[in-house]
Amino acid sequence: MPGSIDYVIWILGWVLEASVVVCALSTRSFRRYLCLNLYMLFCLLFSIGRYQVLSHYGLSSAQYSYFYFYSDALLTIFLYLALITLYLHVFDEMKVGKYLRLTAVLLLAGTALFSYAVVQQSQQKMLTGFFYELSQNLYFVGLVLTYVLWGAILKLRETRTRLIQLVLSLGIYFSAFAATFALRNIFPSFQMIQYIVPVFGCLLPLAWAYAFWRLPEDARMAPARLAVVPR
């Protein structure tokens, strides 16, 4: 069973996820960033669901494993969709929404097919294996897409502070997860990773809640301030 530290991080995650939705609602930004808020809402609901399944069936039960992997894959797809809506915000004036949506669907289908091909070649042809593979691959695709979006923000000299901070915090989240997944593969016996992953999971709702609560939609910043190399 999880220890007290796991429960503290878990509850902290619930509070932060709920606070994103509350902050977005109170600043009337819920509909504008609908996918981001729905993702946080589903995170909260699935997290409560996981707790219920865990307390009924236990950590090593098949029910918990199935629920965990299916919900994780669904949440990753929601996060992918949230990222695509950030693309739509950035490229709003270019009127390329139709092409962005089509590319996003094709990329998602491609990632799913690739994950299916990987699972089919392995000896363990289980549906949970497919969802685990899909989730991991989508995280990496998400990282690459966020990096590309960040490049576009710098190139287009985007000035909307809130949008910039939403994208950057998503970038930190994706890259931290990809790095910890890779680190887990390099050092399988490194125990600290089991705490690092949920802590990083709390940072995204914290940053998003701050962006919704403290930054007005019309806040602007100089794009030159954002590049790591001074312009």
């Binding site: 960040w150 950057l168 930190i172 790095a179 701050y210 609560w213 001074p230």
Partner: protein, 132 residues
């Protein structure tokens, strides 16, 4: 393959973290510091990285505002990263010395703006208590 993914993700994480901290600083860089805070911190014209630790110590003396705790922790981590870069990578790449100095100075400015807000917050709290 895992090592390659780790290196790519770690580099991306570093870049996103630096840009995120710069976006936090950029939001406060336009705000002027009061003469009172300038006196207390000793920041005359331009903020220097050497003053950061002292300004943060002063910040810790004031009651914490609920909304700025996580931002200050992020900038604190950024300042430590810059200090590490200055004492390691910047010795090999001298062009980085100026950049890290400028960034460390802006971290100090950010902390001074936060101090200004905390002082105003403490005054408001005190005024409310007096009224009650």
């Amino acid at each position: 393959m895992a090592t390659l993914i780790f290196l790519f993700s770690a580099a991306a994480l570093l870049q996103f973290f630096i840009s995120y901290c710069r976006s936090l600083i950029a939001a406060s860089i336009k705000q002027p510091i009061s003469a009172e805070v300038r006196d207390v911190t000793g920041i005359a014209s331009a903020a220097s990285g050497e003053d950061f630790v002292r300004v943060v110590q002063l910040l810790q003396l004031c009651p914490e505002r609920p909304e700025d705790g996580s931002r200050i922790r992020a900038i604190n981590a950024y300042f430590r990263l810059l200090t590490l870069m200055r004492s390691t990578v910047a010795r090999v790449v001298p062009a980085l010395v100026n950049w890290t100095d400028m960034e460390r100075g802006q971290c100090t400015y950010f902390a001074a703006v936060a101090l200004d807000r905390r002082i105003a917050f403490s005054r408001d709290m005190l005024a409310q208590q007096m009224d009650a």
